[in-house]
């Protein structure tokens, strides 16, 4: 048996994926499916953000850029070139990952807080590009005709396929961040997160590692963006690059416990549930940002190590099983 399969955490992730895939399929529960789709999206965004935030110690306020660009590329390939969904998703993911590598080699020369500021600027820059780029319909965006769902067996079947794909993307995200964490690459990233100068002196090739982490954290969110906007059959700059979602990813990662794989998934699920509950009450629907803000402030002030920090301190043995 390969060593990876002997690790309990490998099977815990597999179990989570199985629950996500099976639960809504029982009794064709569409409502549960939509809620879990969002949870899977949050888990995807947050665990990829975590590679930068939790491991490498770099705050990325603009992780939404990957999601939005992936969405644009995918929708554009489907609508203008009639590409099949799968190929569009893959190309979008690879292109955004490559772009992130190039961006990363540039802006990752900025350290700590300056990097965080630059990531805000990147969102502005990419959004301005999308608004002025005619093939992407400018600020009006791109609409897909409902005919695109035909090859997937009509809208109802297509929504299920999209859901399963999203769960797959979520699973890959969890495995990716787990594999990075237990690898030599991850050890280097953790060292950078603790003390970047000391890490470089110990021989960690810091610029390359940071750029690779940035790029790795771009690939799956781009695919998730492609799926999400393919599902809505519509994309425009203000939705694609809405800072709310990257903020929520940040809240989720901090809530669960940055740097842990389990915590981030747990945080995403809890946040989705909480949000879903509050959104149904009228008063709160306008105040999603306020909710995220208050939650983030409380976490940063009082529980900087998040849920997993609490679990680890209460049940030290959990550290051995839950990464």
């Amino acid at each position: 048996m390969p060593p990876l399969l002997r690790r309990p955490f490998f099977w815990i992730i597999a179990l989570v994926i199985a629950v996500f895939a099976i639960a809504p399929a029982i009794g064709n529960n569409v409502e549960l499916r939509e809620s879990l789709l969002l949870a899977a999206l949050y888990i995807t965004l947050a665990s990829n953000l975590n590679v930068m935030l939790g491991y490498t110690g770099y705050v990325n306020f603009g992780s939404i850029v990957f999601f939005g660009l992936g969405g644009y590329l995918c929708v554009w390939l489907v609508s203008s070139y009639a590409w099949p969904l799968g190929a569009s998703l893959l190309v979008a993911g690879i292109a955004v990952g490559a772009l992130a590598l190039i961006f990363g080699l540039g802006i990752l020369r900025l350290r700590g807080a300056f990097f965080a500021l630059a990531t805000i600027g990147i969102v502005e820059a990419v959004q301005a590009f999308a608004e002025n780029f005619t093939p992407w319909g400018g600020s009006a965006g791109i609409y897909l005709s409902s005919a695109i769902f035909q090859p997937m067996g009509g809208p109802a079947r297509a929504l299920w396929s999209i859901y399963f794909l999203m769960v797959a993307v979520m699973g890959l995200s969890l495995y990716l961040s787990y594999l990075i964490k237990i690898s030599k690459f991850g050890l280097g990233l953790l060292a950078i997160g603790q003390n970047e100068d000391a890490a470089a002196i110990l021989g960690v090739p810091t610029p390359l590692y940071k750029a690779l982490a940035y790029s790795a954290s771009a690939f799956l969110p781009a695919i998730a963006g492609g799926l999400y906007f393919f599902k809505s059959a519509f994309i425009q700059p203000s939705d694609a690059f809405d800072l709310t979602l990257s903020t929520e990813a940040l809240v989720v990662a901090m809530l669960g416990g940055q740097g842990t794989v389990t915590g981030v998934a747990l945080g995403a699920y809890l946040y989705e549930e909480l949000r879903g509950y509050l959104l149904t009450s009228e008063t709160f629907s306008n105040f999603q940002l306020v909710l995220s803000g208050v939650l983030l402030l409380l976490i940063v002030l009082f529980f900087p190590s998040g849920l997993m920090g609490w679990i680890y301190s209460r049940f030290p043995c959990a550290r051995k099983v839950l990464e």
């Binding site: 280097g188 603790q194 000391a198 890490a199 960690v204």
Partner: protein
């Protein structure tokens, strides 16, 4: 013997301060070279130039026959140079073992994780930290952190080890133990360049000594020669206690 590290006319200036001026010397393979000098003589700056944290304004640094002037620290580390810091720099929330694994993974041998674990445990044993392997770096005592610095540098299995005041802040018993550790390191064939203020210790450890004063080389030679050098004694005259130690040290 061949020179492992050569400095040719290396200069470095910070604003109005000439930290190092036209400094040249060489370290032979297998020796322990002591670097002494009053505070502000440029000793730590020299370490930062050798391992790539700073780039010299002029001059060349040659390590194992290759010109490494201006190379990034992580490349120089990969060539087989490791160091400790005067102000300890633990990877705070990582355990002693993890700290040392970083050293082993990204040092000269570029080991994969599984083998890095062995190398790290080996280095931890040499530094005498076995019982602390699972402790986060930040929770160690000062002496423990100094040992961690040393273990982490050793785990990289360096060819040349730069030690920056590893004895400072330790009590006499700890100093004795640390000196033993340094001797054992040299027995493994590692060349050592050491900065130290404890005169007795450095005089007895070093094969040769280089004395820096105001960024320039004041003297170079066997410990006994250096201790008799009039200029060296004069440089330390501001501190008679040190001058006395210097003469009685050998």
């Amino acid at each position: 013997m061949t020179a492992l590290l050569e400095l040719h006319n290396v200069s470095k200036r910070f604003g109005g301060l000439q930290a190092l001026r036209e400094l040249s010397f060489a370290i032979e393979e297998g020796e322990i070279l002591g670097l002494i000098g009053p505070n502000g003589a440029g000793k730590s700056t020299l370490f930062n130039l050798i391992n790539g944290v700073y780039t010299p304004d002029s001059g060349r640094i040659v390590f194992r026959g290759a010109d490494i002037t201006g190379e990034k620290p992580y490349r120089i580390a990969r060539r087989g140079l490791a160091r400790t810091h005067q102000i300890v720099q633990p990877l705070s929330n990582m355990t002693v073992l993890e700290n040392c694994m970083v050293g082993a993974c990204f040092g000269r041998e570029n080991l994969p994780l599984a083998r890095a674990d062995e190398a790290a445990r080996d280095a931890i044993a040499v530094a005498g930290l076995e019982e602390r392997a699972g402790t986060p770096g930040i929770q160690l005592t000062i002496a423990g952190k100094k040992r961690l610095e040393l273990a982490r540098a050793l785990a990289a299995s360096p060819v040349l080890l730069l030690l920056d005041e590893v004895l400072a802040g330790l009590n006499p018993t700890e100093v004795e133990r640390m000196i033993g550790v340094i001797r054992r390191i040299r027995e493994r064939g590692v060349t050592v360049l050491i900065i130290e203020h404890l005169m007795q210790a450095i005089m007895s450890l070093s094969d040769r000594i280089v004395v820096l004063n105001f960024g320039e080389k004041l003297a170079e030679g066997m410990p006994a020669e250096v201790a008799r050098n009039a200029q060296v004694i004069e440089a330390y005259l501001g501190d008679p206690r040190l001058a006395a130690e210097l003469q009685s040290g050998t």
